[in-house]
Protein backbone atom coordinates (compact mmCIF):
# COMPACT_ATOMS: atom_id res chain seq x y z
CA UNK A 1 0.00 0.00 0.00
CA UNK A 2 1.11 3.55 -0.67
CA UNK A 3 2.13 6.21 1.80
CA UNK A 4 1.10 9.83 1.87
CA UNK A 5 2.61 12.79 3.68
CA UNK A 6 0.98 15.86 5.18
CA UNK A 7 2.69 18.68 7.10
CA UNK A 8 5.85 16.65 7.63
CA UNK A 9 4.12 13.49 8.85
CA UNK A 10 3.83 10.24 6.89
CA UNK A 11 0.76 8.02 6.87
CA UNK A 12 0.28 4.47 5.66
CA UNK A 13 -2.79 3.91 3.47
CA UNK A 14 -4.90 0.80 4.03
CA UNK A 15 -6.39 -1.20 1.15
CA UNK A 16 -8.82 0.94 -0.93
CA UNK A 17 -8.48 3.95 1.39
CA UNK A 18 -8.72 7.40 -0.16
CA UNK A 19 -6.45 10.29 0.80
CA UNK A 20 -9.41 11.78 2.70
CA UNK A 21 -10.03 8.51 4.59
CA UNK A 22 -6.39 8.34 5.69
CA UNK A 23 -6.27 11.95 6.87
CA UNK A 24 -9.60 11.75 8.69
CA UNK A 25 -8.59 8.45 10.32
CA UNK A 26 -5.53 10.26 11.66
CA UNK A 27 -7.66 13.12 13.05
CA UNK A 28 -6.44 15.66 10.55
CA UNK A 29 -9.17 18.21 9.96
CA UNK A 30 -9.68 18.34 6.18
CA UNK A 31 -12.86 20.03 4.96
CA UNK A 32 -15.23 17.60 3.27
CA UNK A 33 -18.90 16.88 2.85
CA UNK A 34 -20.32 14.53 0.20
CA UNK A 35 -17.43 12.06 -0.06
CA UNK A 36 -18.61 11.29 -3.57
CA UNK A 37 -16.73 13.72 -5.78
CA UNK A 38 -19.63 16.14 -6.11
CA UNK A 39 -19.14 19.08 -3.75
CA UNK A 40 -15.43 19.78 -4.33
CA UNK A 41 -15.00 20.89 -0.71
CA UNK A 42 -12.19 18.36 -0.14
CA UNK A 43 -9.97 19.95 -2.80
CA UNK A 44 -6.27 19.57 -1.90
CA UNK A 45 -3.00 19.85 -3.73
CA UNK A 46 -0.24 17.33 -4.49
CA UNK A 47 3.10 19.04 -3.84
CA UNK A 48 4.88 15.74 -4.56
CA UNK A 49 3.62 12.75 -6.55
CA UNK A 50 0.78 12.40 -9.01
CA UNK A 51 -2.92 12.28 -8.05
CA UNK A 52 -5.08 9.55 -9.65
CA UNK A 53 -6.98 10.36 -12.85
CA UNK A 54 -10.33 9.80 -11.14
CA UNK A 55 -9.53 12.40 -8.48
CA UNK A 56 -9.12 15.13 -11.09
CA UNK A 57 -12.23 14.31 -13.14
CA UNK A 58 -14.46 17.37 -13.41
CA UNK A 59 -11.84 19.84 -12.13
CA UNK A 60 -11.04 22.96 -14.10
CA UNK A 61 -8.02 22.40 -16.30
CA UNK A 62 -6.02 25.13 -14.56
CA UNK A 63 -6.56 23.41 -11.20
CA UNK A 64 -5.76 19.95 -12.53
CA UNK A 65 -2.60 21.36 -14.07
CA UNK A 66 -1.49 22.68 -10.67
CA UNK A 67 -2.02 19.14 -9.33
CA UNK A 68 -5.14 19.93 -7.37
CA UNK A 69 -7.34 16.90 -6.73
CA UNK A 70 -10.34 15.70 -4.72
CA UNK A 71 -9.09 13.93 -1.60
CA UNK A 72 -12.26 11.79 -1.37
CA UNK A 73 -11.73 10.40 -4.88
CA UNK A 74 -8.01 9.63 -4.72
CA UNK A 75 -6.79 6.14 -3.91
CA UNK A 76 -3.07 6.91 -4.17
CA UNK A 77 -1.14 5.03 -6.84
CA UNK A 78 2.21 6.47 -5.74
CA UNK A 79 3.65 8.51 -2.86
CA UNK A 80 1.80 11.82 -2.58
CA UNK A 81 2.64 14.75 -0.38
CA UNK A 82 -0.63 16.53 0.26
CA UNK A 83 -1.12 20.22 1.02
CA UNK A 84 -4.22 22.24 1.87
CA UNK A 85 -5.61 24.22 -1.08
CA UNK A 86 -4.39 27.81 -1.36
CA UNK A 87 -6.68 30.45 0.12
CA UNK A 88 -7.21 31.91 -3.37
CA UNK A 89 -8.54 28.58 -4.64
CA UNK A 90 -10.60 27.40 -1.70
CA UNK A 91 -12.22 30.74 -1.22
CA UNK A 92 -15.19 31.43 1.10
CA UNK A 93 -17.07 34.70 0.78
CA UNK A 94 -19.02 36.53 3.51
CA UNK A 95 -22.73 36.92 2.90
CA UNK A 96 -25.78 38.35 4.66
CA UNK A 97 -29.29 36.88 4.83
CA UNK A 98 -31.62 39.45 3.28
CA UNK A 99 -34.90 37.55 3.33
CA UNK A 100 -36.50 34.33 4.54
CA UNK A 101 -39.85 32.85 3.61
CA UNK A 102 -41.51 29.51 4.22
CA UNK A 103 -42.60 28.10 0.84
CA UNK A 104 -44.21 24.88 2.09
CA UNK A 105 -44.29 22.71 5.19
CA UNK A 106 -40.70 21.50 4.58
CA UNK A 107 -39.11 24.13 2.35
CA UNK A 108 -37.77 27.57 3.28
CA UNK A 109 -36.53 30.14 0.83
CA UNK A 110 -33.37 31.94 1.95
CA UNK A 111 -32.01 34.87 0.00
CA UNK A 112 -28.55 36.23 0.61
CA UNK A 113 -26.31 38.99 -0.67
CA UNK A 114 -22.58 38.33 -0.90
CA UNK A 115 -19.93 40.92 -0.02
CA UNK A 116 -18.11 40.16 -3.25
CA UNK A 117 -19.82 39.50 -6.56
CA UNK A 118 -20.00 35.79 -7.30
CA UNK A 119 -19.90 34.85 -10.96
CA UNK A 120 -22.22 31.87 -11.26
CA UNK A 121 -24.46 30.09 -13.72
CA UNK A 122 -28.06 29.39 -12.72
CA UNK A 123 -28.27 25.80 -11.48
CA UNK A 124 -24.79 25.65 -9.97
CA UNK A 125 -24.45 25.27 -6.20
CA UNK A 126 -22.50 26.88 -3.38
CA UNK A 127 -21.07 25.22 -0.31
CA UNK A 128 -22.32 26.87 2.87
CA UNK A 129 -20.45 26.68 6.16
CA UNK A 130 -22.56 25.77 9.17
CA UNK A 131 -22.00 27.07 12.71
CA UNK A 132 -19.38 24.45 13.43
CA UNK A 133 -17.74 24.83 10.02
CA UNK A 134 -19.70 21.84 8.65
CA UNK A 135 -19.96 22.14 4.90
CA UNK A 136 -23.19 21.48 2.96
CA UNK A 137 -24.03 22.17 -0.67
CA UNK A 138 -27.08 24.21 -1.68
CA UNK A 139 -28.21 24.89 -5.23
CA UNK A 140 -28.77 28.37 -6.58
CA UNK A 141 -32.36 29.06 -7.65
CA UNK A 142 -31.79 32.66 -8.75
CA UNK A 143 -30.25 33.89 -12.00
CA UNK A 144 -27.16 36.14 -12.26
CA UNK A 145 -29.23 39.24 -13.12
CA UNK A 146 -31.10 39.00 -9.77
CA UNK A 147 -29.61 41.16 -7.04
CA UNK A 148 -29.66 38.31 -4.52
CA UNK A 149 -28.75 34.63 -4.42
CA UNK A 150 -31.68 32.37 -3.64
CA UNK A 151 -31.68 28.94 -1.99
CA UNK A 152 -34.51 26.51 -1.24
CA UNK A 153 -33.73 24.69 1.97
CA UNK A 154 -35.48 21.42 2.68
CA UNK A 155 -35.63 20.86 6.43
CA UNK A 156 -34.19 17.44 7.29
CA UNK A 157 -35.23 15.87 10.60
CA UNK A 158 -32.15 16.36 12.88
CA UNK A 159 -30.22 17.82 9.95
CA UNK A 160 -27.57 20.12 11.41
CA UNK A 161 -27.25 22.70 8.68
CA UNK A 162 -30.72 22.50 7.11
CA UNK A 163 -32.48 23.10 10.47
CA UNK A 164 -30.10 25.98 11.23
CA UNK A 165 -30.92 27.61 7.88
CA UNK A 166 -34.66 26.84 8.16
CA UNK A 167 -35.35 27.63 11.83
CA UNK A 168 -32.54 29.65 13.33
CA UNK A 169 -30.65 32.02 11.11
CA UNK A 170 -32.33 35.41 10.87
CA UNK A 171 -32.43 38.21 8.37
CA UNK A 172 -29.33 40.37 8.84
CA UNK A 173 -27.17 37.50 10.09
CA UNK A 174 -24.01 36.42 8.30
CA UNK A 175 -22.79 33.21 6.76
CA UNK A 176 -19.93 32.01 4.57
CA UNK A 177 -20.37 30.59 1.09
CA UNK A 178 -17.92 29.08 -1.40
CA UNK A 179 -17.33 29.83 -5.05
CA UNK A 180 -19.93 28.25 -7.37
CA UNK A 181 -19.49 24.57 -8.23
CA UNK A 182 -21.20 22.14 -10.59
CA UNK A 183 -21.94 21.38 -14.21
CA UNK A 184 -25.73 21.29 -14.12
CA UNK A 185 -26.74 24.44 -15.96
CA UNK A 186 -28.23 25.76 -19.23
CA UNK A 187 -25.62 26.16 -21.97
CA UNK A 188 -27.74 28.07 -24.49
CA UNK A 189 -25.89 26.30 -27.31
CA UNK A 190 -29.03 25.06 -29.04
CA UNK A 191 -32.08 27.19 -28.41
CA UNK A 192 -34.46 24.96 -30.44
CA UNK A 193 -33.72 21.81 -28.47
CA UNK A 194 -36.46 20.37 -26.26
CA UNK A 195 -35.64 20.41 -22.54
CA UNK A 196 -36.91 17.98 -19.92
CA UNK A 197 -36.38 18.90 -16.26
CA UNK A 198 -37.20 16.51 -13.43
CA UNK A 199 -36.76 17.24 -9.72
CA UNK A 200 -37.91 16.04 -6.32
CA UNK A 201 -38.25 18.21 -3.21
CA UNK A 202 -35.71 21.03 -3.09
CA UNK A 203 -34.33 19.55 -6.32
CA UNK A 204 -36.59 22.19 -7.84
CA UNK A 205 -34.08 24.89 -6.77
CA UNK A 206 -31.51 24.41 -9.57
CA UNK A 207 -34.24 23.56 -12.08
CA UNK A 208 -36.10 26.77 -11.28
CA UNK A 209 -32.87 28.68 -11.91
CA UNK A 210 -32.26 26.82 -15.16
CA UNK A 211 -35.80 27.40 -16.46
CA UNK A 212 -35.62 31.12 -15.59
CA UNK A 213 -32.24 31.36 -17.29
CA UNK A 214 -33.38 29.50 -20.45
CA UNK A 215 -36.50 31.66 -20.78
CA UNK A 216 -34.48 34.82 -20.21
CA UNK A 217 -32.00 33.75 -22.90
CA UNK A 218 -34.89 33.25 -25.33
CA UNK A 219 -34.96 29.48 -25.50
CA UNK A 220 -37.45 28.66 -28.27
CA UNK A 221 -37.73 24.86 -27.97
CA UNK A 222 -40.23 23.16 -25.68
CA UNK A 223 -39.43 23.15 -21.93
CA UNK A 224 -41.11 20.58 -19.68
CA UNK A 225 -40.67 20.77 -15.92
CA UNK A 226 -41.84 17.94 -13.63
CA UNK A 227 -41.63 18.57 -9.91
CA UNK A 228 -42.41 15.72 -7.55
CA UNK A 229 -42.84 14.93 -3.89
CA UNK A 230 -44.50 12.27 -1.78
CA UNK A 231 -46.99 14.77 -0.38
CA UNK A 232 -47.69 18.49 -0.80
CA UNK A 233 -45.14 19.15 2.00
CA UNK A 234 -42.28 19.51 -0.45
CA UNK A 235 -44.22 20.93 -3.41
CA UNK A 236 -43.81 24.69 -3.65
CA UNK A 237 -43.76 27.56 -6.15
CA UNK A 238 -46.87 26.15 -7.88
CA UNK A 239 -48.45 29.57 -8.44
CA UNK A 240 -45.23 31.05 -9.76
CA UNK A 241 -44.62 28.18 -12.15
CA UNK A 242 -48.23 28.10 -13.37
CA UNK A 243 -48.02 31.84 -14.06
CA UNK A 244 -44.74 31.34 -15.91
CA UNK A 245 -46.37 28.62 -18.03
CA UNK A 246 -49.18 31.02 -18.98
CA UNK A 247 -46.67 33.66 -20.01
CA UNK A 248 -44.52 31.30 -22.06
CA UNK A 249 -46.39 28.95 -24.41
CA UNK A 250 -43.28 26.77 -24.80
CA UNK A 251 -43.05 26.10 -21.04
CA UNK A 252 -45.12 23.36 -19.40
CA UNK A 253 -45.15 22.68 -15.66
CA UNK A 254 -46.43 19.54 -13.94
CA UNK A 255 -46.55 18.90 -10.18
CA UNK A 256 -46.59 15.21 -9.20
CA UNK A 257 -47.66 13.68 -5.87
CA UNK A 258 -46.60 10.09 -5.28
CA UNK A 259 -48.43 8.98 -2.08
CA UNK A 260 -51.59 8.16 -4.04
CA UNK A 261 -53.64 11.22 -3.14
CA UNK A 262 -55.57 13.03 -5.87
CA UNK A 263 -55.04 16.77 -5.66
CA UNK A 264 -56.29 19.38 -8.07
CA UNK A 265 -53.73 20.54 -10.64
CA UNK A 266 -51.28 17.77 -9.76
CA UNK A 267 -50.74 14.34 -11.29
CA UNK A 268 -50.60 11.19 -9.15
CA UNK A 269 -47.30 9.27 -9.33
CA UNK A 270 -43.56 9.81 -9.35
CA UNK A 271 -42.28 12.79 -11.31
CA UNK A 272 -39.64 10.75 -13.14
CA UNK A 273 -42.12 8.07 -14.22
CA UNK A 274 -44.76 10.54 -15.35
CA UNK A 275 -42.15 12.57 -17.25
CA UNK A 276 -40.72 9.56 -19.06
CA UNK A 277 -44.16 8.16 -19.87
CA UNK A 278 -45.23 11.45 -21.39
CA UNK A 279 -41.90 11.81 -23.23
CA UNK A 280 -40.71 8.33 -24.13
CA UNK A 281 -38.38 9.40 -26.98
CA UNK A 282 -35.59 11.75 -25.90
CA UNK A 283 -33.20 11.67 -28.85
CA UNK A 284 -31.69 15.17 -29.23
CA UNK A 285 -33.27 16.41 -25.98
CA UNK A 286 -31.41 17.90 -23.05
CA UNK A 287 -32.38 16.37 -19.72
CA UNK A 288 -31.82 17.85 -16.23
CA UNK A 289 -32.39 15.75 -13.10
CA UNK A 290 -31.95 16.98 -9.51
CA UNK A 291 -32.76 15.85 -5.98
CA UNK A 292 -32.92 12.44 -4.34
CA UNK A 293 -29.75 10.53 -5.33
CA UNK A 294 -31.31 7.19 -6.25
CA UNK A 295 -34.06 8.94 -8.24
CA UNK A 296 -31.33 10.90 -10.04
CA UNK A 297 -29.30 7.82 -10.94
CA UNK A 298 -32.32 5.78 -12.09
CA UNK A 299 -33.75 8.66 -14.09
CA UNK A 300 -30.47 9.42 -15.84
CA UNK A 301 -30.26 5.82 -16.91
CA UNK A 302 -33.88 5.80 -18.09
CA UNK A 303 -33.37 9.06 -20.01
CA UNK A 304 -30.25 7.64 -21.64
CA UNK A 305 -32.08 4.47 -22.65
CA UNK A 306 -34.90 6.67 -23.99
CA UNK A 307 -32.39 8.13 -26.44
CA UNK A 308 -30.79 11.14 -24.73
CA UNK A 309 -27.06 11.38 -25.37
CA UNK A 310 -24.70 11.23 -22.36
CA UNK A 311 -23.45 14.75 -23.05
CA UNK A 312 -27.04 16.03 -22.94
CA UNK A 313 -27.85 14.67 -19.48
CA UNK A 314 -27.15 17.05 -16.58
CA UNK A 315 -27.74 16.28 -12.93
CA UNK A 316 -27.19 17.09 -9.30
CA UNK A 317 -27.71 14.23 -6.87
CA UNK A 318 -28.32 15.77 -3.43
CA UNK A 319 -26.09 13.25 -1.66
CA UNK A 320 -26.07 13.69 2.12
CA UNK A 321 -22.84 14.62 3.88
CA UNK A 322 -20.92 11.78 5.56
Amino acid sequence: MQKIAFRGREFQCEEKETVLDVLVRNDIPIPHSCRSGVCHSCLVKAVKGRPSIASQAGLKETLAHQKYFLACQCIPENFIEVAIADESVNHFVDATVISKKKLSEAITRVRIKTDEVIDYKAGQFLNIKGIKEQIRSYSIASIPSDDFIEFHIQRMQEGVVSTWLSDQIEVGEHLKVSEPVGECFYLGDNKDQSLLLIGTGSGLAPLYGIVSDALQQGHSGEIYLYHGGRTLETIYYRDKLQALAQQHPNFTYTACISDGSIIENTKPGRASQIALTEHPALKNWKVFVCGNPSMVNDTKKAAFLAGASLKDIFSDAFVPAS
Binding site: I53, N297, K300, L305, L310, K311, I313
Partner: protein, 122 residues
Amino acid sequence: MSETLYEKLGGDAAVNAAVDIFYRKVLADDRINSFFEGIDMDKQAAKQKAFLTMAFGGPHNYTGKDMRDGHAHLVKKGLNDTHFDAVMENLGATLKELNVPDDLIAQAAAIAESTRNDVLGR
Protein backbone atom coordinates in the same frame (compact mmCIF):
# COMPACT_ATOMS: atom_id res chain seq x y z
CA MET B 1 5.52 6.56 -38.99
CA SER B 2 2.28 4.88 -40.04
CA GLU B 3 -0.96 5.78 -38.28
CA THR B 4 -1.91 3.70 -35.26
CA LEU B 5 -5.29 1.97 -35.06
CA TYR B 6 -6.39 4.63 -32.57
CA GLU B 7 -5.57 7.41 -35.02
CA LYS B 8 -7.20 5.58 -37.93
CA LEU B 9 -10.40 5.20 -35.92
CA GLY B 10 -10.45 8.93 -35.15
CA GLY B 11 -8.92 9.15 -31.65
CA ASP B 12 -10.69 10.69 -28.68
CA ALA B 13 -13.60 12.04 -30.77
CA ALA B 14 -14.32 8.55 -32.08
CA VAL B 15 -14.27 7.13 -28.57
CA ASN B 16 -16.75 9.78 -27.41
CA ALA B 17 -19.08 8.96 -30.30
CA ALA B 18 -18.77 5.25 -29.57
CA VAL B 19 -19.44 5.50 -25.80
CA ASP B 20 -23.06 6.56 -26.31
CA ILE B 21 -23.80 3.73 -28.71
CA PHE B 22 -21.82 1.04 -26.89
CA TYR B 23 -23.10 1.86 -23.40
CA ARG B 24 -26.70 1.93 -24.66
CA LYS B 25 -26.24 -1.54 -26.16
CA VAL B 26 -24.70 -2.89 -22.96
CA LEU B 27 -27.48 -1.52 -20.74
CA ALA B 28 -30.11 -2.90 -23.08
CA ASP B 29 -28.48 -6.35 -23.27
CA ASP B 30 -30.20 -8.65 -20.78
CA ARG B 31 -27.33 -11.13 -20.93
CA ILE B 32 -24.95 -8.69 -19.20
CA ASN B 33 -26.78 -5.59 -17.91
CA SER B 34 -27.15 -6.99 -14.39
CA PHE B 35 -23.37 -6.47 -13.94
CA PHE B 36 -23.88 -2.75 -14.48
CA GLU B 37 -26.84 -2.24 -12.17
CA GLY B 38 -26.74 0.34 -9.40
CA ILE B 39 -23.45 1.86 -10.56
CA ASP B 40 -23.33 5.63 -10.89
CA MET B 41 -23.96 6.53 -14.54
CA ASP B 42 -21.21 9.12 -14.92
CA LYS B 43 -18.55 6.94 -13.34
CA GLN B 44 -19.69 4.01 -15.43
CA ALA B 45 -19.61 6.10 -18.62
CA ALA B 46 -16.02 7.09 -17.78
CA LYS B 47 -15.15 3.41 -17.44
CA GLN B 48 -16.82 2.57 -20.74
CA LYS B 49 -14.66 5.24 -22.24
CA ALA B 50 -11.58 3.65 -20.70
CA PHE B 51 -12.64 0.28 -22.11
CA LEU B 52 -13.17 1.67 -25.62
CA THR B 53 -9.93 3.67 -25.60
CA MET B 54 -8.14 0.45 -24.78
CA ALA B 55 -9.93 -1.56 -27.47
CA PHE B 56 -9.16 1.20 -29.98
CA GLY B 57 -5.47 0.80 -29.20
CA GLY B 58 -5.35 4.23 -27.57
CA PRO B 59 -3.26 5.48 -24.66
CA HIS B 60 -4.08 3.92 -21.29
CA ASN B 61 -2.38 2.85 -18.08
CA TYR B 62 -4.05 -0.49 -17.50
CA THR B 63 -1.96 -3.62 -17.05
CA GLY B 64 -3.16 -7.19 -17.27
CA LYS B 65 -3.14 -7.26 -13.47
CA ASP B 66 -5.40 -4.18 -13.37
CA MET B 67 -7.88 -5.97 -15.65
CA ARG B 68 -7.74 -9.04 -13.39
CA ASP B 69 -8.25 -7.00 -10.19
CA GLY B 70 -10.84 -4.72 -11.79
CA HIS B 71 -13.11 -7.60 -12.77
CA ALA B 72 -12.42 -9.99 -9.88
CA HIS B 73 -15.60 -8.95 -8.04
CA LEU B 74 -17.57 -9.66 -11.22
CA VAL B 75 -15.98 -13.09 -11.68
CA LYS B 76 -17.20 -13.87 -8.15
CA LYS B 77 -20.69 -12.96 -9.33
CA GLY B 78 -20.41 -15.44 -12.19
CA LEU B 79 -18.74 -13.52 -15.03
CA ASN B 80 -17.82 -16.07 -17.72
CA ASP B 81 -17.06 -16.58 -21.43
CA THR B 82 -20.67 -16.04 -22.57
CA HIS B 83 -20.66 -12.57 -20.96
CA PHE B 84 -17.32 -11.82 -22.52
CA ASP B 85 -18.67 -12.90 -25.92
CA ALA B 86 -21.67 -10.61 -25.44
CA VAL B 87 -19.39 -7.63 -24.78
CA MET B 88 -17.36 -8.50 -27.89
CA GLU B 89 -20.57 -8.66 -29.91
CA ASN B 90 -21.68 -5.23 -28.67
CA LEU B 91 -18.27 -3.80 -29.47
CA GLY B 92 -18.41 -5.13 -33.03
CA ALA B 93 -21.98 -3.89 -33.55
CA THR B 94 -21.02 -0.43 -32.23
CA LEU B 95 -18.13 -0.09 -34.67
CA LYS B 96 -20.31 -1.33 -37.55
CA GLU B 97 -22.89 1.32 -36.68
CA LEU B 98 -20.12 3.92 -36.87
CA ASN B 99 -19.22 2.64 -40.37
CA VAL B 100 -15.74 1.52 -39.33
CA PRO B 101 -14.20 -0.71 -42.05
CA ASP B 102 -14.12 -4.44 -41.31
CA ASP B 103 -10.34 -4.74 -41.10
CA LEU B 104 -10.17 -2.09 -38.37
CA ILE B 105 -13.06 -3.72 -36.49
CA ALA B 106 -11.07 -6.96 -36.57
CA GLN B 107 -8.02 -5.20 -35.10
CA ALA B 108 -10.04 -3.64 -32.26
CA ALA B 109 -11.69 -7.00 -31.57
CA ALA B 110 -8.29 -8.66 -31.37
CA ILE B 111 -7.11 -6.16 -28.75
CA ALA B 112 -10.23 -6.72 -26.60
CA GLU B 113 -9.98 -10.50 -27.12
CA SER B 114 -6.40 -10.49 -25.83
CA THR B 115 -7.65 -9.49 -22.36
CA ARG B 116 -10.05 -12.46 -22.05
CA ASN B 117 -8.02 -14.51 -19.59
CA ASP B 118 -7.22 -11.53 -17.40
CA VAL B 119 -10.81 -10.25 -17.34
CA LEU B 120 -12.11 -13.73 -16.51
CA GLY B 121 -9.42 -14.26 -13.88
CA ARG B 122 -7.74 -17.34 -15.39
